[in-house]
């Protein structure tokens, strides 16, 4: 199309919007609409059962959340889960795998790639059940530990947040690996080679050459990872249902528990909006980091 070459006249601007008007309308209808509806529900005391009609309660649900120990607990666990599994786990492991694979032979690269990506391709709920049987008291992991004569652990009970974090690392590392593989292959070999000639060792090359050059990819990857991890529900639900007690109850699980098990749709929706806020905060931080020039 040669539209871009024609200088835009005042009236033509509007016409340019025309082709994407349907898409915009659909987005507003199917994305904006539900969000607006959510905000409305969050301001009511709507229940799934046991109530004749919902009434408007203003910001009561939000006030209630901040006084609710279980909500605070869920926020803390969500941050722990995100930090452990996404920022530290998936991100670092993904980068390490990508870096190692760059140097590996073709066969090793293919095999590792396939294995890692398999975990990623599995539907969340399937992965959830697989990992449930893996971490279960009588599961695979403990069988292996027994065989090695190491003390076995009741993973899903003693430190469930760690178990679900590991599960999320296992599942999500492939994504980081793919992003970093692409980023690393973009680094011109001349740059690394000349650094090598200048006497930089491997660690210095990583720190002064590689990391700064893939900074943008790191930012993008962190953002996508974090947002994905914040909303992980099926994995945790299948493995622990947020239990025992509420030791692995992250915000999405807490939200489901309130909205559907306790039938408090209004409160659950308010929690969902707060979760959105947490995600937005993370996004802003990452965007800031990415904008900064070296």
């Amino acid at each position: 199309m040669s539209v871009a070459k024609v200088p835009a006249a005042g009236g033509r601007r509007y016409w340019r919007w025309l082709p994407i008007a349907p898409a915009t309308a659909l987005l507003l209808l199917f994305l904006g609409g539900p969000i607006a509806y959510c905000v409305w529900i969050a301001l009511t005391d709507m229940q799934l059962t046991g109530q004749e009609s919902a009434s408007f309660v203003g910001l009561d649900n939000f006030r209630r959340a901040f006084q609710d120990d279980a909500f605070i607990n869920a926020v803390v666990l969500t941050l722990v889960f995100t930090l452990l599994s996404s920022i530290i786990g998936q991100n670092t492991l993904g980068l390490a795998l990508a870096a190692l694979m760059q140097r590996a032979g073709k066969t090793v690269r293919t095999v590792t790639g396939v294995v890692v990506i398999c975990a990623w391709v599995l539907p969340e709920i399937v992965a959830g059940f697989l990992l449930y049987t893996f971490f279960h008291r009588q599961g695979t992991l403990n069988a292996v530990l027994d065989w090695l004569h190491l003390p076995s652990q009741n993973w899903l009970f003693t430190l469930p947040i760690l178990a679900v974090s590991f599960a999320n690392i296992w599942r999500g590392t492939a994504f980081s690996m793919l992003v970093y593989s692409a980023a690393l292959s973009e680094i011109p070999t001349e740059v690394t080679e000349s650094a090598q000639v200048d006497g930089a060792n491997a660690r210095q090359r990583l720190w002064f050459i590689t990391l700064p050059m893939i900074r943008r990819s790191i930012g993008t990857n962190l953002m996508l990872n974090t947002l994905q991890t914040l909303s992980v529900f099926g994995l945790i639900w299948a493995m622990t249902r947020g239990g025992p007690g509420n030791r692995s109850q992250t915000l999405p699980v807490f939200m489901y528990d309130q909205a559907f098990d306790k039938a408090l749709i209004g409160y659950g929706t308010a929690v969902a909006l707060l979760l959105l806020l947490v995600g937005a905060l993370f996004s802003v931080i990452y965007l800031r980091l990415m904008r900064e020039e070296v």
Binding site: L18, T49, G50, Q51, E52, F157, G243, G245, D257, F260
Partner: protein, 451 residues
């Protein structure tokens, strides 16, 4: 360039419009198809209810040519099933035509306006006179109207494995008289048979209502303190009975008299007890429902012919043997018609088909249910259906019903939460009881009374 813009626009609009109208089409408007929603066990081998409904559906289709019954099995644990049907019943696009409602939450769903009052139909149905008064009340709301037809009821007590008892040198006709005797027996079992789980008491959020009713209420109703004070129409907080009941749960799990805590809190425990622990001789005593043998007969999920000679039954005693000396709780399920369905008359016809004398008997036999109809209770096929039917039927006399109030499901959730904290060792019975009191006050808008 200009001419292409409208072209693209109209093309996109056409695609979008056709997609949008596609959404509106939905199902559920078909007058000849009757959708029947019911829970399906999470263990795939357990299909007795599916089979029963398929059989009745076939009879119905034969008697009503041109009509089609579409079973909608919802495979889920207890609480997830309730959530699912509530969501379905909110909209006429998704509402099934007939729904299987637990009396546990029927009052709550009635208040939400999900269900159709059946009085108009019931007054012309002479079979209704066969139903016992207490069963009729199960689905009668605060407004005096009836919203469901019950198909059976249940009672609760202690099941015990006589073979394991023999090995441990315990009596075959065991009947504990106090809580302490139950715990003492469990301790003996633990000593003599270290590989066997002595006693299961459902607990925690995973087991859901099973924990609240089979577990907690079976204890609490055996103390001097009620859950709900009928006189003042208020919920009870701060009672000694409440703490004592939590303490019983704590004792079971801290002394390791129950299943491993992680198994006890697993949502699958309710299926695992009758299909795995008991038949495989891994569990000696189960505080559970009268219906367990539905799994062990030949239509069940775990056929186990020896059950009738292996399993003994004992009534759950009150805390210190006072009162009637024994405790039981009763519940049951009803067939109800969602208001949002547009096939009310056909749905009613289906309920009548479920409740012909013969089909109702068949259900009670397959489901190991206690009959709610006089003509079923008299049927020899029912009377000879399972050993112990007299035992559980006799418990009806002392059996209590849960408070039939819309807020009950939420109270139940708070109960299971208190149990879970105590079981996992995250809180003492006192702390958990205090949290429950707080929660109760907010759930009921302060309609509480302190003992």
């Amino acid at each position: 360039m200009r001419p292409t813009a409208p072209l693209i626009f109209s093309l996109t609009a056409a695609v979008a419009l056709s997609t949008l109208t596609g959404c509106g089409g939905g199902s559920g408007n078909d007058k000849d198809t009757l959708e029947v929603a019911f829970p399906k066990d999470t263990n795939n081998k357990v299909t007795w209810r599916d089979d029963y409904i398929d059989d009745i559906a076939a009879k119905f289709e034969k008697a009503n040519p041109g009509k089609d019954v579409k079973p909608v099995p919802i495979q889920a644990t207890g609480n997830d099933y309730y959530t699912k049907i509530q969501q379905m019943m909110r909209s006429s696009k998704t509402a099934p035509d007939l729904v299987y409602e637990d009396t546990f939450l029927i009052n709550s769903d009635i208040k939400s306006g999900y269900l159709l009052p059946l009085d108009g139909y019931l007054k012309d149905w002479k079979d209704w006179d066969q139903f016992e008064e207490s069963a009729k009340k199960a689905a009668r709301a605060e407004d005096g109207k009836t919203y469901g037809v019950p198909d059976g009821t249940d009672t609760r007590g202690l099941w015990f494995n006589k073979k394991l008892f023999k090995k441990a040198g315990l009596p075959q006709d065991w009947q504990p008289r106090t809580w302490d005797e139950v715990l003492e027996t469990a301790r003996t079992l633990k000593r003599k048979l270290p590989d066997v789980i002595p006693l299961n008491v459902f607990t925690g959020k995973g087991a859901g209502e099973a924990a609240a009713m089979q577990g907690f209420e079976m204890l609490l109703y055996g103390t001097d303190d009620p859950l709900y004070d009928e006189g003042s129409r208020k919920w009870v907080t701060g009672s000694k009975g409440f703490r004592d009941s939590l303490e019983f749960v704590e004792t079971v799990y801290s002394e390791k008299l129950g299943p491993d805590v992680s198994d006890a809190l697993d949502a699958n425990i309710q299926t695992r007890v009758p299909t795995e622990y008991l038949p495989e001789g891994k569990l000696a005593i189960a505080l559970d429902g009268s219906w367990l043998s539905q799994q062990w007969i030949k239509t069940g999920g775990k056929p186990w012919p020896e059950w009738s000679t292996t399993m003994g039954r004992a009534a759950m005693p009150t805390q210190d043997g006072g009162g009637a000396g024994k405790v039981s709780m009763s519940g049951g399920w009803t067939w109800s018609i969602p208001k949002q369905s547009d096939n009310h008359d056909l749905a009613w016809k289906m309920i009548k088909t479920f409740q012909t004398q013969q089909n109702a008997t068949d259900f009670c036999v397959r489901g190991a249910q206690i009959a709610v109809r006089a003509d079923v209770a008299e049927d020899p096929q029912y009377q000879g259906s399972m050993p112990g039917i007299e035992f559980f039927t006799d418990l009806v006399e002392v059996s209590e019903y849960r408070p039939a109030l819309p807020v009950y499901p939420q109270v139940s959730a708070a109960l299971t939460e208190a149990m879970e904290q105590v079981t996992a060792g995250d809180a003492s019975p006192g702390e958990a009881a205090d949290r429950y009191d707080e929660e109760l006050e907010s759930l009921t808008d302060g309609a509480v009374t302190t003992r």
